[in-house]
């Protein structure tokens, strides 16, 4: 029996724990000092940009274009499937650990069509808790202490702490702007092939690729992917390819899977996400796809950490995939209709930002846009924090304009922060009313004094 008194108030859950509190609050530890601190593997990994900025932006009066959180509705059939599924008893109990059978089957069909090769649903796929979980399983399975892992800057922030948690060393290489800092498009941001080649050595275990890219929205071209592939093959390096935004590519662009290049299937783990595919980030389902001899190690990590993902969510996702698999040659397929919907939001956002005097970098893919704020010449030198300019700018913008974004230097290693501190990132997968509210702020930007 739980040691609790029977008095409790519904509205605050103030469970009076008389018996419990007597022994808990007043129990003193032994007179010896408490030696239990964190393990070395998580040393320095506790700080997190989201913790800092989502708290600040949680105020409902602030228009939140910061965290990558869709506020649009997921497609109705996706929600309906989950409702149906929850009523089926056996679907509320454990399923196959490495992925619910109907889901891995659906994934294998969809990706066989995309990749043009046979994908075994049982051995070549692992379903994880979000793409995050796939990144974790991949890195824990295949990256050894002392290995080096190449990370392209700016990078999705979790790559660095995950690599460090595995005891490996992140080696950074920045995307550089082609036209002397005058960037109109995400395509202007490129890797220097010689610089990239220099980062590879015998200790390089893997390179993490993210295309379409968060935060810049770059969609790597075939030529760019070939440069990376050539180096991976030459140095016998793995490629961890984070392709969560694979369906979100805009007109004139094509998402290419590096795993489909010659010599790459056998050294690539490709990661996908239900959250991004179906606008259901709260479902936390992702997957890793690759050759059996690599995926089997991810499966071992998975069976020794979370073991299995939620059944009803996987079943509902499988049903949704069947719906769209059947219409993959049809423009109404959600994989294409979502990107069309987002393209018009992208264009609207870009227009509003330009009118406010800001310089957006138009993304070729994804649902983020980076913006050069230096043109506004907002003087924040009197703000005597040691933070980079973009952190100060975002905090100022939240306080004075009630609009939030994320500072770009959060996505860079220490040495590159200076290069990116004039940029902030906006998320545009937002419903019209949110964008309307942003429009009001941006149109009135110059009318208020900062």
């Amino acid at each position: 029996m739980f040691l609790a008194s029977r008095n409790f108030c519904c509205c605050g859950f103030k469970l009076r724990t008389d018996l419990l509190s007597r022994s808990i609050k007043h129990s003193t530890s032994a007179t010896m000092p408490f030696r239990h601190k964190n393990t070395r593997r998580i040393e320095g990994l506790d700080s997190n940009v989201w913790v800092e900025f989502t708290k600040v932006a949680a105020d409902p009066s602030i228009v939140n274009l910061g965290q990558g959180l869709p506020d649009i509705s997921p497609p109705s059939y996706v929600k309906e499937e989950l409702a149906k599924v929850a009523a089926v008893d056996r679907l509320n109990q454990y399923t196959r650990g490495f992925g619910h059978p109907s889901l891995v089957k659906a994934l294998s069909q969809v990706y066989e069509k995309v990749c043009g090769r046979k994908i075994d649903p049982l051995t070549d796929i692992l379903v994880t808790v979000g793409a995050y979980g796939s990144l974790f399983s991949t890195i824990q399975a295949l990256i050894e202490e002392g290995d080096e892992v190449i990370i392209i800057e700016p990078f999705y922030d979790c790559y660095e702490p995950m690599v460090k948690m595995a005891g490996a060393k992140p080696v950074f290489i920045p995307l550089r702007c082609k036209n002397n800092g005058n960037s109109a498009s995400s395509a202007d941001w490129v890797l220097d092939p010689a610089e990239l080649a220099n980062k590879f050595n015998s200790k390089t275990k893997a390179i993490i690729l993210n295309t379409p890219h968060n935060p810049i929205g770059k969609v790597f071209t075939l030529e760019e992917l070939q440069v990376i592939a050539d180096l991976c093959i030459k140095h016998d390096t793995l490629c961890i390819s984070d392709e969560v935004y694979e369906w979100l590519v805009y007109k004139g662009n094509k998402h290419i899977k590096i795993a489909t290049l010659p010599g790459m299937w056998e050294r690539t783990v490709t990661i996908g996400s239900a959250g991004k595919t179906y606008s259901v980030t709260g479902w936390k389902l992702g997957w890793s796809i690759g050759p059996e001899y690599l995926i089997k190690h991810l499966q071992v990590v998975h069976q020794n950490t979370l073991y299995t993902c939620p059944t009803p969510l996987q079943e509902a996702l499988a049903q949704a995939f069947w719906v769209d698999y059947k219409r993959m040659d049809d423009p109404d397929c959600y994989f294409y209709s979502l990107s069309r919907e987002l393209e018009s939001k992208r264009d609207r956002m870009a227009q509003l930002l330009k009118e406010a005097g800001l310089k957006p970098v138009i993304p070729d893919g994804g649902y983020f846009m980076i913006v050069d704020v230096s043109t506004l010449n907002v003087d924040l030198s009197d703000v005597d924090e040691k933070q980079p300019y973009d952190y100060k700018f975002v905090k100022w913008m939240i306080a004075s304009k009630k609009l939030s974004a994320i500072p770009l230097s959060a996505f860079c290693g220490l040495e590159t922060k200076k290069q990116f501190e004039k940029y902030i990132r906006f998320c545009f997968i937002k419903k019209d009313s949110t964008l309307d509210a942003a429009e009001v702020i941006l149109k009135n930007w110059n009318k208020q004094t900062g």
């Binding site: 506790d46 059978p101 979000g130 606008s279 709260g282 190690h297 990590v301 079943e315």
Partner: protein
């Protein structure tokens, strides 16, 4: 309505078994450098991968893997439906050290400790059968205090406690917990307390939380599970409770591994708990009803097993029980020098030949001790009456076959 669903697990695995051998990259070269990280050494085998597969392929009655085959309570699934229909579509958006492990143990403790680079140190619960020939209770399996004390050293970082215990069903008494607590305090050791079956205790027994003992709150992480609390194992929502100075480090790991858990499942579980708080201690409380119902099922299965000559150990808690299958050993001859423990071969034979799935007790022991108790298998009784009756029928027929032959 699910006719267009993908195949069921059984159908799917049968399909795969028949087309086994197909590989998608049989002719493509692998990387030449070694790929697998050293932290995965020796932890690739997994009892569930093997036995869940077997059960799905062969069993007609599955009392193996621990999941209820009766529905989750309506108020919980209704909570999920409400959450889904509530119009809030934002619910679809964004949630060279030693560790002592008491045997038998839930199998994942050992590989998890190893993956963290720790060294598991095992201490067994030892059976002390009652002298009057009555059936054993899980209470009769006990730690030897001197033996336990000998396992603690200055390099001991933590002890993993599981009460109520899977697989035996033991509910540690206040005295037994006191013993463990004293040693933890004396040696400054953490306690990882797996209490997922906390609401499933029978015969008026009390589940005592070791964190409530003197000196223990500050050094204990308590683990709970929605799957076991609300009979919804497929929702995969669990929690850790403890002092901030320990929990902060769990949060760091969490934010660098999965970061969030499924929002909608958490919302529905929260509503489930709200309802239970309102009904706390009342007869309609699920926490009162579920153990009452399961106790009956326990007693039913105990009777069935005893009736055919298998000797069940009556569990004080959880929805598992372990039974001694010695009278049935003649059906599965011993194979000298076999790598595989006897009970494992017995369980495999039983599922293939009798269609009844259970889990061998050796699955819950370290490699070195797998052959210590080879006559026991574990049954799960969180099952519909029809399932338990079907199990009883299989056992009866089996016994009849033996006595007549």
């Amino acid at each position: 309505m699910l006719r267009r669903a993908g195949p069921s697990l059984r159908h799917f695995l049968l399909e795969r078994n028949s087309s086994a051998g197909h590989s998608s990259c049989s002719r493509e070269a692998k990387m030449s450098r070694p790929v697998r990280a050293r932290r995965l050494e020796g932890i690739d085998k997994n009892i569930w991968v093997e036995f869940v597969n077997l059960a799905a392929t062969y069993s007609k009655v599955n009392l193996g893997q621990g999941f209820p085959d009766f529905p989750a309570p309506d108020f919980l699934t209704e909570a999920l439906t409400r959450a889904l229909g509530g119009g809030n579509h934002m619910l679809h958006q964004y949630t060279r050290a030693f560790v002592i492990i008491i045997e038998p143990f839930f199998d994942c403790y050992e590989p998890m400790v190893k993956m963290a680079g720790g060294t598991p140190v095992f201490v067994p619960l030892r059976p002390n059968p009652p002298k009057d020939g009555k059936l054993m209770s899980s209470a009769d399996w006990q730690l030897d205090p001197a033996e336990l004390a000998s396992k603690f050293s200055e390099r001991t970082k933590a002890i993993v406690l599981n009460s109520p215990n899977n697989p035996l069903g033991k509910v540690f008494s206040r005295e037994e917990l006191g013993l463990i607590a004293e040693l933890c305090v004396k040696h400054d050791v953490l306690c990882i307390s797996d209490e997922v079956y906390e609401w499933l205790v029978y015969d008026g027994k009390q589940h005592i939380r070791i964190a409530s003992l003197q000196g223990m709150w500050d050094r204990t992480v308590i683990i709970g599970s929605a799957g076991k609390t609300f009979s919804a194992t497929g929702w995969k929502v669990g929690w850790a409770v403890g002092p901030d100075r320990l929990l902060q480090h769990l949060r760091t790991v969490h934010q660098n591994s999965v970061y969030h858990c499924a929002t909608i499942a958490q919302e529905a579980v929260a509503q489930g708990f709200q309802r239970e708080l309102m009904l706390y201690g009342k007869p309609e409380s699920y926490f009162v009803q579920l153990p009452k119902e399961l106790q009956q099922k326990r007693d039913w299965l105990v009777q069935s097993l005893d009736g055919v000559g298998m000797k069940p150990i009556i569990p004080e808690g959880t929805y598992f029980l372990v039974a001694d299958i010695s009278p049935f050993k003649s059906d599965v001859p011993d194979v000298p020098n076999s790598d595989e423990p006897y009970d494992s071969r017995f369980a495999k034979w039983m599922v293939k030949n009798k269609g009844l799935a259970a889990i061998p007790l050796s699955a819950f022991y370290s490699e070195a001790h797998k052959n210590n108790y080879t006559n026991f298998i574990r049954f799960c009784f969180a099952k519909e009456e029809a399932t338990l009756k079907a199990a009883s029928d299989i056992l009866q027929k089996w016994k009849q076959k033996k006595t007549s032959s």
